[in-house]
Amino acid sequence: SQQGEEDPQALSIQEGENATMNCSYKTSINNLQWYRQNSGRGLVHLILIRSNEREKHSGRLRVTLDTSKKSSSLLITASRAADTASYFCAPLSSNYKLTFGKGTLLTVNP
Protein backbone atom coordinates (compact mmCIF):
# COMPACT_ATOMS: atom_id res chain seq x y z
CA SER A 1 0.00 0.00 0.00
CA GLN A 2 1.01 3.63 -0.24
CA GLN A 3 0.84 4.09 3.52
CA GLY A 4 3.69 6.01 5.07
CA GLU A 5 5.55 4.32 7.88
CA GLU A 6 7.19 6.53 10.47
CA ASP A 7 10.25 5.71 12.48
CA PRO A 8 10.88 5.76 15.40
CA GLN A 9 7.50 4.99 16.95
CA ALA A 10 8.38 7.14 19.96
CA LEU A 11 11.02 9.77 20.66
CA SER A 12 11.76 11.61 23.90
CA ILE A 13 14.09 14.61 23.98
CA GLN A 14 14.90 17.66 26.08
CA GLU A 15 13.73 21.12 25.21
CA GLY A 16 16.19 22.83 22.90
CA GLU A 17 17.35 19.61 21.25
CA ASN A 18 16.60 18.67 17.66
CA ALA A 19 14.17 15.90 16.75
CA THR A 20 14.38 13.82 13.58
CA MET A 21 11.62 11.55 12.34
CA ASN A 22 11.75 9.33 9.29
CA CYS A 23 9.14 8.09 6.86
CA SER A 24 9.22 5.35 4.24
CA TYR A 25 6.66 4.60 1.55
CA LYS A 26 6.30 2.07 -1.24
CA THR A 27 5.18 3.51 -4.56
CA SER A 28 5.63 6.68 -6.61
CA ILE A 29 4.13 9.83 -5.20
CA ASN A 30 2.81 13.22 -6.26
CA ASN A 31 3.88 14.81 -3.00
CA LEU A 32 4.39 13.94 0.65
CA GLN A 33 2.86 15.80 3.55
CA TRP A 34 3.62 15.91 7.26
CA TYR A 35 0.92 16.43 9.86
CA ARG A 36 0.98 16.92 13.61
CA GLN A 37 -1.68 15.80 16.04
CA ASN A 38 -2.08 16.77 19.66
CA SER A 39 -5.02 16.92 21.98
CA GLY A 40 -5.18 20.69 21.91
CA ARG A 41 -5.25 21.45 18.19
CA GLY A 42 -6.18 18.17 16.54
CA LEU A 43 -4.58 17.14 13.24
CA VAL A 44 -2.78 20.01 11.54
CA HIS A 45 -0.88 20.20 8.28
CA LEU A 46 2.77 21.16 8.76
CA ILE A 47 4.54 21.05 5.42
CA LEU A 48 4.29 19.59 1.93
CA ILE A 49 7.17 18.54 -0.28
CA ARG A 50 6.64 17.79 -3.95
CA SER A 51 8.17 14.80 -5.69
CA ASN A 52 10.57 17.02 -7.63
CA GLU A 53 11.87 18.73 -4.49
CA ARG A 54 14.66 17.41 -2.28
CA GLU A 55 14.47 19.73 0.71
CA LYS A 56 12.09 22.28 2.11
CA HIS A 57 12.16 24.59 5.12
CA SER A 58 9.41 26.22 7.13
CA GLY A 59 10.40 27.99 10.33
CA ARG A 60 11.98 25.38 12.60
CA LEU A 61 10.96 22.55 10.29
CA ARG A 62 13.13 20.98 7.63
CA VAL A 63 11.85 18.21 5.39
CA THR A 64 13.87 16.12 2.99
CA LEU A 65 12.66 13.74 0.32
CA ASP A 66 14.61 11.01 -1.44
CA THR A 67 12.39 9.49 -4.11
CA SER A 68 15.05 6.94 -5.10
CA LYS A 69 14.92 5.52 -1.58
CA LYS A 70 11.22 6.30 -1.12
CA SER A 71 11.93 8.03 2.14
CA SER A 72 11.47 11.38 3.83
CA SER A 73 12.64 12.94 7.06
CA LEU A 74 11.27 15.70 9.27
CA LEU A 75 13.69 17.69 11.43
CA ILE A 76 12.41 19.97 14.16
CA THR A 77 15.15 22.24 15.45
CA ALA A 78 15.34 23.84 18.90
CA SER A 79 12.36 21.85 20.13
CA ARG A 80 9.85 23.24 22.63
CA ALA A 81 7.50 21.55 25.05
CA ALA A 82 4.66 22.66 22.78
CA ASP A 83 6.08 20.44 20.01
CA THR A 84 4.98 17.39 22.01
CA ALA A 85 2.60 15.58 19.66
CA SER A 86 2.26 12.70 17.23
CA TYR A 87 3.75 13.33 13.81
CA PHE A 88 2.46 11.59 10.68
CA CYS A 89 3.76 11.48 7.16
CA ALA A 90 1.17 11.11 4.43
CA PRO A 91 2.27 10.24 0.90
CA LEU A 92 -0.10 11.38 -1.84
CA SER A 93 -0.09 9.25 -4.98
CA SER A 94 -3.45 10.27 -6.46
CA ASN A 95 -4.71 13.83 -6.30
CA TYR A 96 -6.67 13.35 -3.11
CA LYS A 97 -6.06 10.25 -0.99
CA LEU A 98 -3.74 10.68 1.97
CA THR A 99 -2.54 7.50 3.65
CA PHE A 100 -1.19 7.89 7.15
CA GLY A 101 1.10 5.61 9.11
CA LYS A 102 0.97 5.03 12.85
CA GLY A 103 3.01 8.12 13.53
CA THR A 104 5.92 9.08 15.73
CA LEU A 105 5.04 10.15 19.25
CA LEU A 106 7.40 12.99 20.18
CA THR A 107 7.75 14.04 23.78
CA VAL A 108 9.72 17.20 24.53
CA ASN A 109 10.64 17.44 28.18
CA PRO A 110 10.98 20.91 29.72
Binding site: N30, L43, V44, H45, L48, Y96, K97, L98, F100, K102
Partner: protein, 115 residues
Amino acid sequence: GAGVSQSPRYKVAKRGQDVALRCDPISGHVSLFWYQQALGQGPEFLTYFQNEAQLDKSGLPSDRFFAERPEGSVSTLKIQRTQQEDSAVYLCASRSRGSGSYEQYFGPGTRLTVT
Protein backbone atom coordinates in the same frame (compact mmCIF):
# COMPACT_ATOMS: atom_id res chain seq x y z
CA GLY B 1 -12.15 32.36 9.51
CA ALA B 2 -13.98 29.35 10.86
CA GLY B 3 -12.35 25.98 10.47
CA VAL B 4 -13.92 22.57 9.96
CA SER B 5 -16.45 21.77 12.64
CA GLN B 6 -17.87 18.43 13.64
CA SER B 7 -20.74 17.41 15.87
CA PRO B 8 -21.26 15.84 18.22
CA ARG B 9 -17.76 15.84 19.70
CA TYR B 10 -18.53 12.72 21.71
CA LYS B 11 -21.10 10.03 21.11
CA VAL B 12 -21.85 6.94 23.15
CA ALA B 13 -24.03 4.39 21.42
CA LYS B 14 -25.28 1.02 22.48
CA ARG B 15 -24.44 -1.83 20.18
CA GLY B 16 -27.02 -2.04 17.44
CA GLN B 17 -27.98 1.64 17.49
CA ASP B 18 -27.67 3.90 14.46
CA VAL B 19 -25.56 7.06 14.68
CA ALA B 20 -25.15 10.13 12.48
CA LEU B 21 -22.03 12.28 12.56
CA ARG B 22 -22.02 15.74 11.04
CA CYS B 23 -19.26 17.70 9.35
CA ASP B 24 -19.31 21.39 8.40
CA PRO B 25 -16.37 22.05 6.08
CA ILE B 26 -14.65 25.36 5.53
CA SER B 27 -16.91 27.55 3.43
CA GLY B 28 -16.14 27.22 -0.26
CA HIS B 29 -14.07 24.07 0.07
CA VAL B 30 -14.97 21.71 -2.73
CA SER B 31 -13.41 18.52 -1.43
CA LEU B 32 -14.47 16.72 1.72
CA PHE B 33 -12.98 13.63 3.31
CA TRP B 34 -13.90 11.27 6.15
CA TYR B 35 -11.31 9.31 8.10
CA GLN B 36 -11.50 6.79 10.92
CA GLN B 37 -8.80 6.83 13.58
CA ALA B 38 -8.52 3.94 16.02
CA LEU B 39 -6.63 4.37 19.27
CA GLY B 40 -2.88 4.46 18.68
CA GLN B 41 -3.23 4.44 14.90
CA GLY B 42 -3.09 7.01 12.17
CA PRO B 43 -6.24 8.18 10.38
CA GLU B 44 -7.57 5.78 7.75
CA PHE B 45 -9.35 7.06 4.67
CA LEU B 46 -13.05 6.28 4.45
CA THR B 47 -14.54 8.34 1.65
CA TYR B 48 -14.10 11.42 -0.56
CA PHE B 49 -16.56 13.94 -1.99
CA GLN B 50 -16.06 16.56 -4.62
CA ASN B 51 -19.00 18.90 -4.22
CA GLU B 52 -22.01 16.59 -3.81
CA ALA B 53 -20.47 13.70 -5.74
CA GLN B 54 -19.01 10.83 -3.76
CA LEU B 55 -16.02 9.95 -5.89
CA ASP B 56 -14.40 7.34 -3.69
CA LYS B 57 -15.95 5.23 -0.96
CA SER B 58 -13.40 2.46 -1.06
CA GLY B 59 -12.43 2.90 2.60
CA LEU B 60 -15.89 2.38 4.08
CA PRO B 61 -15.46 -0.80 6.16
CA SER B 62 -18.88 -2.28 5.54
CA ASP B 63 -22.30 -1.55 4.07
CA ARG B 64 -23.34 -0.33 7.51
CA PHE B 65 -21.40 2.85 6.78
CA PHE B 66 -22.98 5.47 4.56
CA ALA B 67 -21.93 9.05 3.81
CA GLU B 68 -23.71 11.85 2.01
CA ARG B 69 -23.19 15.47 1.06
CA PRO B 70 -26.43 16.34 -0.73
CA GLU B 71 -25.84 20.06 -1.32
CA GLY B 72 -22.09 19.99 -1.63
CA SER B 73 -21.47 21.54 1.76
CA VAL B 74 -22.40 19.80 5.03
CA SER B 75 -21.74 16.07 5.13
CA THR B 76 -23.13 13.31 7.31
CA LEU B 77 -21.53 9.97 8.06
CA LYS B 78 -24.09 7.43 9.17
CA ILE B 79 -23.31 4.13 10.81
CA GLN B 80 -26.11 1.63 11.10
CA ARG B 81 -26.33 -1.13 13.70
CA THR B 82 -23.14 -0.02 15.42
CA GLN B 83 -20.66 -2.63 16.58
CA GLN B 84 -17.91 -2.37 19.20
CA GLU B 85 -15.26 -2.35 16.49
CA ASP B 86 -16.76 0.90 15.21
CA SER B 87 -15.44 2.67 18.32
CA ALA B 88 -12.96 5.25 17.04
CA VAL B 89 -12.50 8.94 16.35
CA TYR B 90 -14.11 9.99 13.08
CA LEU B 91 -12.33 12.89 11.43
CA CYS B 92 -13.62 15.10 8.68
CA ALA B 93 -11.34 17.19 6.47
CA SER B 94 -11.87 19.67 3.67
CA ARG B 95 -9.70 21.05 0.93
CA SER B 96 -10.01 23.97 -1.43
CA ARG B 97 -10.06 23.62 -5.18
CA GLY B 98 -7.13 25.89 -5.92
CA SER B 99 -4.44 24.65 -8.23
CA GLY B 100 -1.83 22.74 -6.32
CA SER B 101 -3.95 22.84 -3.18
CA TYR B 102 -3.29 19.53 -1.52
CA GLU B 103 -3.38 20.54 2.13
CA GLN B 104 -6.31 19.12 4.06
CA TYR B 105 -7.88 20.96 6.99
CA PHE B 106 -9.16 18.67 9.70
CA GLY B 107 -11.98 19.08 12.17
CA PRO B 108 -11.66 18.14 15.85
CA GLY B 109 -13.29 14.77 15.30
CA THR B 110 -16.17 12.87 16.83
CA ARG B 111 -15.19 10.25 19.37
CA LEU B 112 -17.62 7.34 19.05
CA THR B 113 -17.80 4.77 21.80
CA VAL B 114 -19.98 1.72 21.25
CA THR B 115 -20.90 -0.12 24.43
